[in-house]
Symmetry: C2
Subunit: 214 residues, 2 copies
DNA sequence: TCATCCAGTTAACAACTGTTCTCTGGAATT
DNA sequence: AATTCCAGAGAACAGTTGTTAACTGGATGA
């Protein structure tokens, strides 16, 4: 049952979302540890003190951004990895390319703050990535190729895939940053180059997987 | 021929090194984009304006730190990758573990600023990592297993290894951050766990390499 | 020995930061 | 209709920031 929010709660959530959006934009050219509270409220068009009605600190806001960026991505990754056969890798690479194109600021934020200067945010990202790895692991376990594998090795392989996905995502991101308004073609071929390399790297990992038990 | 520096130049280099050291310490719990110029000079024990005698900006200092952190590492990586046979992976993992233990702040800085908020620093790191990949590639090319491989595929493989090394380094770093002064044993076994996983991941990649041309 | 150089100092600038306390006006509850 | 609630405003706080200009005093080179 969806309970309709009162005018008050609705307006509050709207403002909260405005905070998240403004922060994400500001974080395109700096890191969270240098993001000022007043800077954000200025961008939203609201008094500095209003910030405290929604977040304890900018670190708190950062944790909320992690959930927004990764929270809704789990089902998509799950169904992509569930694809059987050779098409799995192709679909995974396409999923990454499309996601980066659709939400570049989110991807940049995650790549940046994964090893960033704010501990709670690092932990939030680490936990989310561990969830991804667990999910990939359970999908991989369903493969016929997973026969004879123990849980530890499957999880190791899952982490390898997840890390590889993140690296690929940040490479796609770089092609966007080199975007040239005059002629978008060169960076489009750049993107195809990244896709080709990422595909081959994952294929090589899959090959290693096939011969792991030899 | 090594020309002995004058008292003046020597003192200047000493102060410059003090800047780098102080910055590296401060950067353990924040990112470069939030590092203030006055903050650094305060830590060095010198007037704020002295900063400009050595660096144009904190971004400039960051680029210098990249060189310090990665510049001297090339020969070590090269000789490690040049190790033939199965021992190569063992040595590589040990090299990483030792380097992280000896220079944790440097490793943290690189991991943090690789995708950080300061463009010139990102570029400096990207260039250094590309150099590592090129060097790994030329070493791999000497292997008998490299027969029949083209340059593109070798470079792809080299990048895979370099990225994997960085991931492993940052995992070792995390075990240091969870260090408990009361009982150092648990995080020592944690380190062995990381080493075991990293070794198996690289072994799996090597397996994929062996069957690449099938 | 004397003039030049230059790493580091001192003082001052306007602009910015996070956080506190008090207040307001409309929504929510009774 | 009267009361409570609470998201956001406003003002003020002490402290911080990067950058400028003009200086000092010891090393340097003629």
């Amino acid at each position: 049952m969806s309970h309709t929010l009162g005018i008050r709660q609705a307006q509050k959530q709207k403002t909260r979302q405005a905070f998240l959006d403004a922060a994400l934009t500001l974080l395109e050219e700096q890191s969270l540890s240098s993001l000022g509270l007043r800077e954000v409220t200025r961008a939203v068009g609201v008094a500095p003190t209003a910030f405290y009605r929604h977040f304890r600190s900018t670190a708190d806001l950062g944790v909320a951004l992690v959930d927004e960026a990764l929270g809704s991505l789990h089902p998509m990754v799950r169904t992509t990895v569930a694809t059987p056969g050779a098409e799995r890798i192709t679909r995974a690479v396409r999923l990454i390319a499309d996601h980066v194109a659709a939400h570049p600021a989110h991807v940049r934020f995650i790549a940046r703050e994964r090893h960033g200067g704010v501990q709670p945010v690092r932990k939030a990202i680490r936990d989310q990535l561990a969830r991804f790895a667990e999910e990939v692991k359970t999908e991989l376990a369903k493969d016929p190729e997973a026969e004879g594998w123990n849980d530890d090795d499957l999880l190791m392989l899952a982490h390898l895939y997840v890390d590889q996905m993140l690296i690929t995502a940040s490479l796609f991101l770089e092609t966007l940053e080199n975007e040239n308004p005059e002629s978008p073609e060169p960076s489009e071929t750049e993107r195809e180059r990244v896709a080709r390399i990422a595909t081959r790297q994952m294929r090589l990992i899959s090959l290693g997987r096939q011969h792991w038990l030899d």
